[in-house]
């Protein structure tokens, strides 16, 4: 077996060094070496997007990047987008819009959404569907995900941090924020 390779990169703003085999994917390194288990393995061949992370700001399937390739790169994972105990507006909108069921695809969708809204703050429904077509969801039928992306776009352009993490606090009934609506 070849000797392990030393790699230095920045993950979620922090400089990180690790050792890996050449054959290990970035996904394996993130999950098994560095314990960033938010990126999920769904297919391990670039067809489902569950392992999406941002590599120098671009969405990539981390299963199709070798760990050794990220020398000097900046990586953002799902663990790195909430700020100071507040969810990122995209995360908040996914929750409020019930855009997840089993949740396994959710980190990937949120990362792709972040990349999309970073580059196109006001995408059309078609643009959202096109840009998210590399992320498969088997539970939701996509409807509520698309709406969450649309709501995220609105929240981000309004510059409003919605909600925070109130839902996890025991008091303050937050029920019925969204009563039956045209869906």
């Amino acid at each position: 077996m070849a000797k392990k390779i030393h790699v230095t990169s920045t993950i979620n703003g922090e400089p990180i060094e690790f050792l890996c085999d050449a054959r290990q994917s970035l996904l394996e390194v993130l999950r098994d070496t560095l314990d960033f288990t938010g990126a999920k393995e769904g297919c391990n061949n670039g067809n489902c997007g569950a392992c999406t992370v941002l590599l120098d700001g671009l969405p990539v399937d981390s299963c199709l990047v070798l760990g050794v390739e990220v020398e000097g790169a900046k990586i953002t994972t799902i663990e790195g987008i909430a700020r100071e105990a507040h969810l990122h507006p995209i995360q908040q909108c996914f929750l409020e819009d019930a855009a997840l069921q089993c949740g396994i695809c959710t980190p990937g969708f949120i990362m792709s959404t972040k990349a999309l809204l970073d580059s196109n703050p006001n995408p059309s429904e078609h643009e959202i569907r096109f840009q998210l077509s590399g992320n498969l969801c088997r539970c939701t039928g996509y409807d509520k995900i698309i709406r969450a992306v649309q709501d995220s776009a609105k929240a981000l352009s309004a510059g409003v941090e919605r909600g925070g993490t109130k839902a996890t606090q025991p008091d303050g009934r937050r029920a019925a924020k969204k009563q039956p609506q045209a869906r």
């Binding site: 999950r31 960033f36 288990t37 938010g38 990126a39 999920k40 393995e41 769904g42 297919c43 061949n45 067809n47 489902c48 994972t77 799902i78 663990e79 909430a82 969810l87 995360q91 929750l95 409020e96 819009d97 019930a98 997840l100 069921q101 089993c102 949740g103 396994i104 695809c105 959710t106 980190p107 429904e125 569907r129 096109f130 077509s133 498969l136 969801c137 088997r138 539970c139 939701t140 039928g141 996509y142 409807d143 509520k144 995900i145 698309i146 709406r147 993490t165 839902a167 996890t168 025991p170 008091d171 303050g172 009934r173 937050r174 029920a175 019925a176 009563q179 039956p180 609506q181 869906r183």
Partner: protein
């Protein structure tokens, strides 16, 4: 749009849309799914799978693999107890343990490509994979068969020499690929057909499809030195996983603890075990925790798709559109071992309608495919594709609007289903009326090559067993312990029912899914049962807590418990009152903790009906179908959390769209699946579907205190027939084979052209 025929006004929590309790963990990547489990010293297991669809195993030589540095243990079928035929009830369906054992690790014979043959544990997954290549298996290939009708033919390759046909309790005397023949009959079928004004008969075929959950199967086992086995796994039922594992290893259930992790989708495919006892055996052999994760191709080839099918239906009706007779012949492939989805297929084929004279014959058929498993309303979609497509043809032939024809024959309270049961109050008619009144149905569809279709669907809600407990905390919250693994937000829909019962907020209940030592027996998350049955358990926990809290209030108020009134979470007597929270704060002084408990096994399964409307456009040159608009109408009994009810309706519809248009197992002439990946097994992407409109109809279920009906499964049943009807309107072609993929539809359209 959520239209409601029920009265939600009396509820404070039910019908609202709180943020799910596990939400923050799931949007931050913190939730622990099966593959996120980390144990010190864990090693990784991988499985060697058969390259042949059908072969005798002459020998397995694992010696070279055992010598590879890094390999910790190797196991084959020979390491496991040789189980005799024994039927075990898994909650949603039964299984023969000998078959289950041979399915998860082949004994003597491989019966499909991807059939597990041997397993290796090594210090990392790459080494384990390299070791698999060193295992030498000598096969003697046999002829294989994958299509259900081919498998039934005389002279077809026989999968098992000890399986004979059981026809309604009568056993045949020679081996066969047809383990079961089911027959239901009521009325005078032949007489009724003879008298009918119109009789039509058609044949339908469907391909094998997979549940397609994004999370591959995964299990981690630790067989401790004290003989106790702990499993961390992704399962729809921790108790059934415990039972199967204990049976397969022939150890007492009490020696096994199953810790259910977050589960990345199941849809029926994560009830049977595949990895658990293999990981356990490897762990026992090497004395370390063993983690096993499937690759995507293993999921397609080595777990359970749902049956491919052949269905022939005959309907007889009067000129005015009254159904008088029905006959159905259904042959579903079971895959490599008996026990496919033929039973529910037979029960569901005519389940939407009142047909006084009906006969159904169903055949469970062995084929060289992975053992089939449940997939969302298992067996119903294939049957509905046939029956609902014929209702559309009948409507056309009789010149009756397709909703009107369905209304004239719709199953209602008192309708007897062909397999025996008589419906209690059901909401089918209401879904049809809501469809008729919908903006979608009323708006004209303009443009060439476009068509609108409608179809209905039915699925049971099973009851089964659920346990729950609620611990009242001093701050007025309640920790809810339940045993139903949460695949789509059921923690919240169950917690909301407890909150409603206690008069507290949804956020004041903290639900936890416990392991098999932490909660009473609970059946699988399946059969559209969790919000119904575990919800019922939560309601009863609430009643138990309320009773105890009333006693405590009486102590505080110094009165008789009977004098305490409990309204909206407020305990009142003698002009004094305490909120639930205030009272919870006094538990320490009034006798200690309050724990509510419930274990339920509700009788009388309920029934869920839905009606779908779809508009399509067909490219006249390529035959590609575009879904332009889609509406799902369903009776939810009572929508506890409408967002997640809508989510079930939308998700089921899109799975049905995939089944209708593109999803299929493609086999070569050697019985090998050609497309075991997400690139060529084409599940819908976000770009393939429009927004899915929903109309929730609420006809409360009389068997549940809040009127809940399960909603999870019905939504997959109608789409193929609805889409086929819409394609007919757009092209003039009646598609009778799924999927209605572009090459197939193009060929039919080309054949139709003069």
């Amino acid at each position: 749009m959520a239209s409601s025929t029920g009265d939600n006004k009396k509820y404070k929590v039910i019908g609202t849309r709180p943020i799910r309790h596990d939400g923050a963990d799931k949007v931050t990547g913190r939730a622990i799914y099966g593959s996120d489990v980390r144990l010190n010293g864990a090693v990784h297991g991988k499985i060697l799978r058969s390259p042949h669809a059908h072969a005798q195993i002459k020998s397995i030589d694992t010696s070279a693999a055992e010598k590879l540095p890094g390999v910790c243990a190797v196991a084959t079928g020979a390491d496991f107890p040789d189980l005799k035929d024994k039927i075990a009830n898994l909650g949603e369906g039964a299984v023969n343990l000998a078959h289950l054992s041979a399915n998860v690790l082949a004994h003597r014979k491989v019966l499909y490509k991807g059939h597990a043959v041997a397993a290796v544990a090594a210090t990392n997954p790459h080494v384990a994979e390299e070791a698999l290549k060193l295992i030498k298996v000598e096969y003697e290939p046999l002829e294989s068969v994958t299509w259900v009708l081919d498998a039934m033919r005389a002279g077809a390759p026989l999968l098992h020499d000890n399986v004979v046909t059981n026809s309604m309790g009568k056993k045949a005397d020679k081996p066969s690929n047809v383990p079961t023949h089911i027959h239901f009959e009521m009325g005078k079928v032949d007489e009724a057909f003879a008298k009918a004004d119109i009789v039509i008969e058609r044949e339908y075929k469907t391909a094998s499809v997979h549940q397609g959950y994004i999370e591959p199967h995964v299990a981690t086992a630790l067989w401790n030195e004290d003989g106790h086995l702990t499993l961390w796994t992704s399962t729809q039922g921790s108790f059934t996983a415990r039972q199967q594992t204990a049976e397969l290893l022939q150890i007492p259930i009490s020696r096994v603890t199953v810790v259910p992790c977050e589960i990345g989708g199941g849809f029926g495919g994560k009830i049977a075990v595949y990895l658990e006892h293999v990981a356990a055996m490897l762990s026992r052999k090497c004395g370390r925790p063993v983690k096993m994760t499937m690759n995507r191709d293993e999921v397609f080839e080595g777990t359970g798709p749902t049956p491919g099918s052949f269905v022939r239906v005959k309907l007889g009706a009067t000129k005015t559109g009254q159904l008088v007779a029905g006959e159905a012949y259904l042959a579903y492939d079971a895959g490599a071992f008996p026990g496919g989805m033929i039973g529910p297929g037979c029960m569901c084929v005519f389940s939407c309608y009142e047909i006084p004279n009906a006969r159904v014959d169903g055949y469970d058929v062995l084929a060289n495919k992975p053992k089939t498993q449940a997939y969302r309303a298992p067996g119903a979609t294939q049957a509905a594709f046939a029956c609902e497509s014929m209702m559309d043809e009948l409507a056309e032939k009789l010149g009756i609007d397709p909703i009107e024809l369905r209304l004239r024959n719709a199953a209602k309270e008192g309708t007897r289903r062909v397999d025996g049961p008589t419906y209690p109050r059901v909401g089918f008619i209401e879904t049809l009326q809501a469809a008729k009144a919908s903006e979608h149905w009323k708006s004209p569809l303009k443009g060439p090559h476009r068509g609108r279709g409608i179809a209905s669907g039915y699925w049971f809600n099973i009851g089964l067993k659920s346990s729950a407990a609620g611990n009242v905390n001093p701050d007025g919250t309640v920790s809810l312990i339940e045993g139903s693994t949460d695949i789509g937000g059921t923690r919240t829909s169950v917690a909301m029912q407890l909150a409603e019962t206690l008069g507290i907020a949804a956020e004041e209940v903290m639900p936890r899914v416990a392991d098999t030592d932490g909660v009473g027996y609970t059946d699988v998350t399946g059969g559209s049962r969790v919000t119904f049955a575990t919800g019922l358990a939560a309601y009863e926990v609430g009643l138990d807590i309320r009773r105890q809290m009333t006693e405590r209030a009486a102590l505080v108020f110094k009165c008789d418990p009977a004098a305490v009134e409990c309204v909206d979470g407020m305990y009142k007597a003698n002009g004094k009152s305490l909120t639930f929270r205030e009272l919870a704060g006094k538990l320490g002084q009034t006798g200690g903790p309050v724990v509510g408990r419930a274990a339920v096994d509700p009788e009388g399964p309920s029934n869920g009906f839905g009606t779908h409307i779809v508009d399509v456009e067909v490219d006249p040159e390529t035959a590609k179908v575009t879904i332009l608009r889609y509406t799902v109408i369903q009776d939810a009994g009572r929508a506890i959390h409408p967002s997640y009810v809508e989510g079930q309706m939308q998700g089921g519809a899109v799975q049905g769209i995939g089944w209708a248009l593109n999803e299929e197992y493609v086999f070569d002439d050697q019985g090998r699946m050609q497309n075991p990946n997400y690139l060529d097994y084409r599940m819908p992407t976000a770009l393939d579907v429009p927004m899915i409109e929903t109309i929730i109809v609420e006809v409360p279920n009389p068997a549940h205190p809040y009127g809940v009906r399960g909603v999870g499964e019905t939504p997959i049943v109608a789409p193929p027939a609805a889409i086929a009807a819409a394609i007919y309107k757009a092209t003039g072609v009646r598609a009778r084979e799924l999927p209605i993929s572009p090459p197939r539809l193009w060929a039919a359209m080309a054949a139709k052209k003069p």
